[in-house]
């Protein structure tokens, strides 16, 4: 596992929705190594711990990595105050991505994203051939990246908690309908833990391979501190595995939600 740590220039900053920002940084060596589902570890100026943020886009030609984040506290607020041209201290790429190469060929892939778990599914969708996206948001004003998903997916199904756009309710209803069509080879998902648990259960019911990307409070981000473990069932026993190193993507059947 190889990664880089350096200061990289922010080449594009966009506001996608209230408190949600898209940063693109120029980091050719890291971009060359990066895979969908991996994350970057960002130093918020003035803070002790870095913020792990999933990779939303990889542009190897331009040497760029893009990530999208929401302001959750003072640290992400400090990152959001940075501007185009500023240098961002970043460790990247980290963790294991989605195993898109092992999705059965000829079959459809479903990427599922919920809220701020939606961004990493964009690069994942780009890395697959025949993709349907199921994206869940709280309301119309929280929707992000929908057009970009439409440009890389055969179909994009939107859900909102309040029904203001797309189907009212959570992602599992449309997911179950799609899985019921019988042509799906793999489900890749990122979002709130409760949503991931429901997605995992739905995929299992239809016997479809499913991977989920987990989130945990992180220290070093590279595996050294063992701070960010998740409960994983592997080899017949429960283990506490590092989200940063053995994850963040895990086989859904192994995760003890």
């Amino acid at each position: 596992m190889s990664y880089k740590c350096d200061e990289y220039k922010i080449v594009e900053k966009k506001t996608l929705a209230e408190n949600i920002y898209s940063f693109t940084v120029h980091c050719p060596e890291a971009a060359e190594l990066a895979k969908c589902g991996q994350f970057v570890h960002i130093l918020a100026p003035g803070f002790t711990l870095r913020r792990p943020i999933s990779i939303c886009g990889i542009d190897r030609e331009r040497g760029n990595i893009r990530f999208v984040f929401i302001i959750k506290g003072h640290g992400t607020e400090a990152i959001a105050r940075m501007n185009e041209g500023d240098m961002l201290n970043m460790i990247a790429p980290l963790g294991n991505g989605f195993s898109v190469q092992s999705a059965p060929s000829g079959k459809r892939v479903i990427v599922v994203g919920g809220g701020i778990g939606v961004p990493p599914m964009l690069e994942t969708a780009k890395s697959c051939n025949k993709v349907t996206a199921v994206l869940g948001f709280r309301s119309y004003k929280n929707i992000i990246l929908a057009d970009e998903f439409r440009s890389v997916c055969e179909e994009v199904l939107l859900c909102t908690d309040d029904g203001s756009v797309g189907e009212k309710g959570i992602v599992t209803a449309p997911l179950a309908r799609e899985l019921g069509k019988g042509d799906v080879g793999a489900v890749f998902a990122c979002g709130p833990l409760r949503m991931l648990g429901a997605v995992a259960e739905t995929a299992k019911k239809y016997g479809v391979f499913c991977e989920v990307s987990l989130e945990e409070r992180m220290g070093c981000g590279v595996g050294a501190c063992v701070g960010c473990v998740a409960r994983i069932q592997r080899g017949g026993e429960e283990k506490l595995l590092r989200v940063c190193k053995e994850g963040p993507v895990f086989n859904a059947e192994e995760v003890l939600f």
């Binding site: 990664y3 201290n89 992180m218 473990v229």
Partner: protein, 304 residues
């Protein structure tokens, strides 16, 4: 001309005085993609127990102002895996390696120390100060009798230099320091983390699943300097200073307080290159001040 930054701690020569602190650097391999590990003065490896340990449930990490809390709880693969898998790799590149040892009983410490005695480790650091496990951590380090008994048991089974890592969560750290010195400790490292707590005001739950955890980072540096100073003045054995060391200035300060070397931990999470920056800064400082050996500055603080 490059300076000789080497220091001697309890008879062991470290190429420079900047050591990665136990629990923050794993067994080194996670940072190998960034720089050759032998650029560090040494590595104090992840705390190891006689048998594999699963550690505490997550969340294990919480940020604080200028610091962090952790409640990892000594998750490690066990001393045999350390000896057979990690140690040979680490010694290949000439790293100075400190094995950090924790235990739930005196027998645990003794048995693991016996195993380490016949290996290539340069030093054994006794962790009698982990705040995150009910047994085998601070229980030993918070009383003179406990600290002395672990030191005595390990001393009896190994010729390796023994460093005892002390907890700051005590009334009188100097009493504990004297107790381990009298049982044959070769040197003392301090401070381990301070016991702390954070609460999520929305859920009313502690942020850490363990409720409480070890407080580290720049915020605790003044406490560490004070305790290193007190202990260095109370014992005749070498002292290694740690607790919030983040810059080369911190390292100089810690050495002036009485430390022969420093350990860095949380600062590595903020910036993995920080130990190298400290080493470079120390070299510049030596050149600027005409210092030939860093041991010249150890304990040179002039108290009012």
């Amino acid at each position: 001309m490059s300076k000789d930054l080497s220091v001697k701690v309890a008879g062991v020569t470290f190429p420079n005085p900047v050591i990665a602190a136990s629990g923050t650097y794993g067994f080194g391999e996670d940072y190998a993609p960034l720089y050759p590990l032998n650029r560090l003065g040494g590595i104090s490896c992840k705390g190891t127990t006689i048998k594999e340990k699963a550690g505490n449930l997550p969340p294990r990490i919480a940020e604080t102002t200028a610091g962090m809390l952790n409640s990892v709880g000594l998750q490690n693969p066990g001393v045999d895996v350390f000896i057979n898998k990690y140690l040979p790799e680490l010694k290949k590149n000439g790293n100075v390696i400190i094995a950090n040892l924790a235990g739930a009983s005196i027998d645990d410490y003794r048995e693991a120390a016996e195993k380490l005695d016949s290996t290539d480790v340069d030093m054994i650091e006794l962790n009698i100060s982990c705040p995150n496990v009910k047994q085998g951590g601070a229980t030993w380090g918070t009383t003179c009798d406990g600290a002395a008994s672990v030191t005595k048991a390990v001393r009896a089974v190994t010729k390796k230099p023994v460093m005892v890592k002390l907890t700051p969560n005590v009334t009188s750290v100097t009493d504990i320091a004297k107790a381990v010195e009298s049982e044959g400790a070769d040197c003392i490292s301090l401070i381990n983390t301070l016991l702390g707590m954070r609460i999520d005001i929305n859920t009313r739950r502690p942020v850490l699943h363990n409720n409480v955890g070890g407080f580290s980072g720049p915020a605790i540096f003044p406490v560490a300097v004070r305790m290193v100073w007190q202990v260095a003045n109370a014992v005749n054995i070498d002292v290694v200073g740690m607790g919030g060391v983040s810059t080369w200035e911190d390292a100089v300060e810690m050495m002036m307080a009485g430390a022969k070397a420093v350990q860095m931990g949380t600062a590595i999470f903020t910036d993995p290159y920080s130990p190298l920056k400290v080493i470079d800064g120390l070299e510049r400082y030596m050149t600027e001040k005409g210092i030939d050996s860093l041991s010249e500055i150890t304990g040179t603080v002039q108290p009012w």
